[in-house]
């Protein structure tokens, strides 16, 4: 008998994941604890304490002389300088990778300032650069958002692909009653899942492979901002459920966004028991969400490790009209903004609520207060991260579940993942959605039409 060996991708691409700043670090922790395989994980931060609290095996401190181990103080300028100072170390770390994921939270100092520069260095090494960025909550103030938007514009110029998550959107999808901590955990999870999904998509090869080339070909055509959805399920109706979850990803806007896309990469991965019927069902359903002219790049892989699970990854770029809404690219160095900005990329709502409405003229008044806050985390030298969590402000408690989580707690995590789904379908939660024009009609009409109920 002649046996044919199906050769997978000749050499698995080298993937490196860089977590930059506070938010990036948390996402990285989550990723490491989730047990991602075959990637090198590197944490970068100006804040030494945060850096040491993380679990990433490789750590690079930015701005040893510029910030002296403290945070960047919400100032992108400092973030930029700090990255510049550590340029050699960074270049050394990114060397030899085929693909680099840079995840960071924009709006703060380290993330907004250093990310474009790091993306530039990463690209210089010849790798494909995918940036996962979170935009600050709108309650964090206009200035932070402007900073984030500027930085994002630069990232888009530097990176091959930018997956941008709006924190506001994450807040919307978390159940109404979920605490702020859960919302941040959800944000971390979203980042972590996205990275894992793209990494495995590229690495897995498969029966119908979608490699780096397809990915970039499909997305580079338009602008680099992209839509991203990931879902998995191992239930009886897993094809439907996995797709539904992927479409419910915060970036997908329940599949509404897909209607305007001209090209979509969809990748399915399942265990050996994945059937053609399931694929057909899933794709039929998926086709309802996209336009007739949309180009679909379909990828399919089987992986015994997945067992009963079926994973769906959807990547697409947004329409051109949204690109116009983006701010014009600013010079690589983000303009210095008043030091009013908080250092942590994810600011606790409590503090912002207490702070007055930001007025530029008043900014200097806040300087001492901010400085005090600056020093505060550094002054506390508590080695155990769990202990630090208890005493530090809420901004840091958002890392808590990640650090406490063990790999054994997978099951619990699955339950948490469920909380990401919007809980507004009521009794139709488990039934097949009725979708017309990308709208899920099971969601109450008054909700979709934004009617305010008294």
């Amino acid at each position: 008998m002649i046996t044919l060996h199906r050769s997978t991708v000749p050499a698995a691409p080298v993937i490196k994941v860089i977590g930059l700043g506070g938010a990036g670090g948390s996402a990285l922790d989550r990723l490491v604890l989730d047990g991602i395989e075959g990637v090198t994980v590197i944490a970068l931060n100006t804040d030494v304490q945060a850096l040491n609290g993380g679990v990433a095996p490789q750590k690079i401190q930015l701005g040893k002389t510029v910030t002296r181990g403290l945070g960047a103080g919400g100032d992108p300028e400092i973030g930029y300088q700090a990255a510049e100072e550590a340029a050699d170390e960074i270049k050394g770390a990114v060397e030899g990778a085929d693909m680099i994921f840079l995840c960071t939270g924009l709006g703060g100092g380290t993330g907004s300032g250093a990310a474009p520069l790091i993306a530039h260095m990463a690209r210089g090494s010849g790798a494909m650069v995918v940036v996962f960025a979170t935009m600050p909550f709108s309650f964090e103030g206009k200035r932070r958002r402007t900073q984030a938007a500027e930085s994002l514009a630069q990232l888009e110029a530097q990176a091959h692909l930018v997956v941008c998550f709006e924190n506001d959107r994450l807040g919307e999808t978390a159940p109404h009653k979920a605490g702020v901590q859960d919302a941040f955990v959800a944000a971390d999870q979203m980042l972590s899942h996205s990275i894992q999904a793209i990494a495995s998509l590229v690495r897995r090869g498969g029966i119908i492979a979608t490699g780096l080339d397809e990915l970039s070909a499909a997305l580079r055509r338009s602008q680099p901002r992209c839509l991203f959805g990931y879902g998995e399920s191992d239930g009886a109706n897993r094809a439907h459920e996995a797709l539904a979850r992927a479409l419910k990803s915060p970036l997908m806007d329940k599949g509404k966004m897909l209607a305007d896309c001209h090209s979509v990469v969809i990748h399915l991965a399942g265990g050996p028991d994945l059937t053609v019927q399931e694929i057909t069902t899933l794709m039929d359903e998926f086709n309802k969400h996209i336009g007739d002219d949309t180009r679909i790049d379909f990828g399919l892989a089987t992986d015994a490790k997945l067992g009963r699970r079926l994973c769906v990854t959807i990547i697409s770029s947004t329409g051109a009209h949204e690109a116009a809404a983006e701010p014009a690219p600013a010079p690589v160095r983000v303009q210095r903004t008043p030091p009013r900005q908080a250092p942590a990329p994810a600011q606790p709502p409590k503090r912002t609520a207490a702070a007055p409405v930001p007025v530029a003229a008043k900014a200097p008044e806040f300087e001492p207060e901010e400085d005090a806050e600056e020093i505060q985390p550094a002054a506390k030298h508590e080695p155990a991260p769990v202990a630090a969590v208890k005493t530090s402000p809420p901004a840091q408690t958002y890392r808590k579940p990640a650090t406490e989580k063990t790999a054994a707690a997978k099951k619990e995590e699955k339950a948490e993942q469920m909380t990401l789904e919007p809980a507004n379908r009521g009794r139709f939660e488990k039934s097949e959605p009725t979708i017309v024009d990308g709208q899920d009609l099971d969601v109450p009409t008054f909700l979709r039409k934004n009617l305010k109920l008294k």
């Binding site: 097949e432 109450p444 009409t445």
Partner: protein, 398 residues
């Protein structure tokens, strides 16, 4: 039909399973013997999602019907629905063999057979091939081609098809219960048989069957079915909206919808409230009537707008001279016909089954239209098969 015959129509709805046993009289009238009913579980949007649970509900409904009508139920006409059901119009033809130029009765069957080869997706199966019109050698408007001379018999069919596996789920339920299925019937088609008379069908009418989980529609024009379909939205959605919007349990929302709800907005006194009594761990609530009605109105309006878009695709609705007939459980909602009139711009009436005798409570309620329609469908097909009792009578005297 040689003698009185007893048939049973079974509708597995989203909110209830309903079995109606009826006697088809020799004079063409229908006498309802009994109505068996059970609240439905394991059905979502008209489709079975839990065969076991659903089987129990069906058994309950059939037992209820057996007891009330004193009839042993062995076979049923089964109503099916679900958003997967689609339809389109197709012309099929049959060319007569060289040695024959006169169309006979068997050629009908041959065209029917041809209709069953119309293209439908691979995973789908035929539910109906409903005859619209005959053409003989391209000549239009032939009412009865039997005995006519021609080379080619053509016919337009309205073809209704749905996903085979889902339809088989309903069938499986009946197999499990050891009940034979005489025929499967698309529920809006059945409902139309119950609520429309021949005159309305000729003039042109739209039947909209608003059930618990689905809204089915069927358009008649010139005596033939022109368009039909299902939207996966029904009364359950209204209840769900109320439950989520007012933050009350589903059961309470359902009661509130039936007892107090209305589609009409603006007719309330400002601040007018509906009081929900506290009981069994449910803290009492006062709900503003305006809000209650607004939630219902928005859902109903949206459903009708969606339906209008569907109807506009076929453009047959323009010829519906007799207007629109609403039926099904959710058509009992107050003010629903006004919303429909506003959107469809045609006369709308809420209708129950027509020309039926027997248990009054059964045919006076629009929620039984479909089940009664199944019985009427049975009558029509049985008539067809035997050539009608009148034919039989004529033959006897010939």
């Amino acid at each position: 039909m040689a003698k009185d015959q007893i048939v049973v129509g079974l509708e597995i709805g989203t909110s209830k399973v309903c079995a109606i046993s009826a006697e088809l009289k020799r004079d063409g009238t229908i006498q309802i013997l009994g109505v068996g009913e059970a609240p439905s579980r394991g059905v979502r949007k008209g489709e079975i999602v839990d065969i076991e649970t659903c089987g129990k509900c069906i058994r309950e409904a059939l037992a209820d019907a057996e007891e009330k009508s004193d009839v042993m139920i062995k076979n049923v006409y089964l109503g099916i629905t679900g958003a997967h059901i689609q339809s389109y119009n197709n012309r099929c033809s049959f060319t007569l063999p060289e040695d024959r130029a006169k169309i006979d009765r068997e050629d009908f069957a041959r065209v029917q057979e041809a209709a069953r080869t119309s293209p439908i997706p691979a995973q789908n199966m035929f539910v109906h091939t409903i005859l619209q019109h005959y053409y003989v050698d391209g000549q239009d408007g032939i009412l009865n081609p039997v005995g006519m001379h021609g080379r080619k018999l053509e016919a337009d069919f309205h073809i209704v098809h749905g996903v085979a596996t889902r339809i088989r789920n309903s069938i499986q339920c009946m197999i499990d219960l050891d009940i034979e299925i005489e025929d499967i019937v698309f529920t809006p088609y059945a409902a139309a048989q119950a609520v429309l008379d021949a005159n309305q069908k000729t003039t042109g009418a739209i039947t909209v069957d608003i059930g618990g989980g689905t809204t089915g529609y069927i358009v008649y024009a010139g005596g033939a079915v022109k368009q039909s379909g299902v939207i996966g939205i029904g009364g359950d959605h209204i209840t769900n909206d109320l439950s989520l919007g007012l933050r009350i349990p589903m059961g309470k929302a359902e009661r509130l919808k039936i007892d107090e709800g209305s589609c009409a907005i603006g007719g309330t006194i400002p601040g007018e409230a509906v009081v929900l009594k506290d009981e069994h761990g449910f803290a009492g609530r006062e709900i503003e009537r305006e809000m209650l009605n607004t939630i219902i109105h928005m859902r109903v309006r949206e459903t009708f707008e969606l339906l209008k878009r569907e109807l506009d695709k076929g453009r047959y609705a323009e010829y519906a001279g007799a207007g629109m007939v609403l039926t099904g459980g959710s058509s009992a909602l107050r003010g629903i016909h006004e919303v429909a009139e506003d959107i469809f711009q045609m006369p709308v009436q809420v209708c129950r089954a027509q020309n039926i005798a027997g248990v009054t409570s059964a045919f006076e309620n629009p929620q039984y239209s479909t089940a009664i329609g199944l019985v009427k469908y049975a009558q029509a097909t049985l008539d067809d098969e035997s050539g009608g009792w009148l034919d039989w009578f004529k033959k006897w005297f010939r």
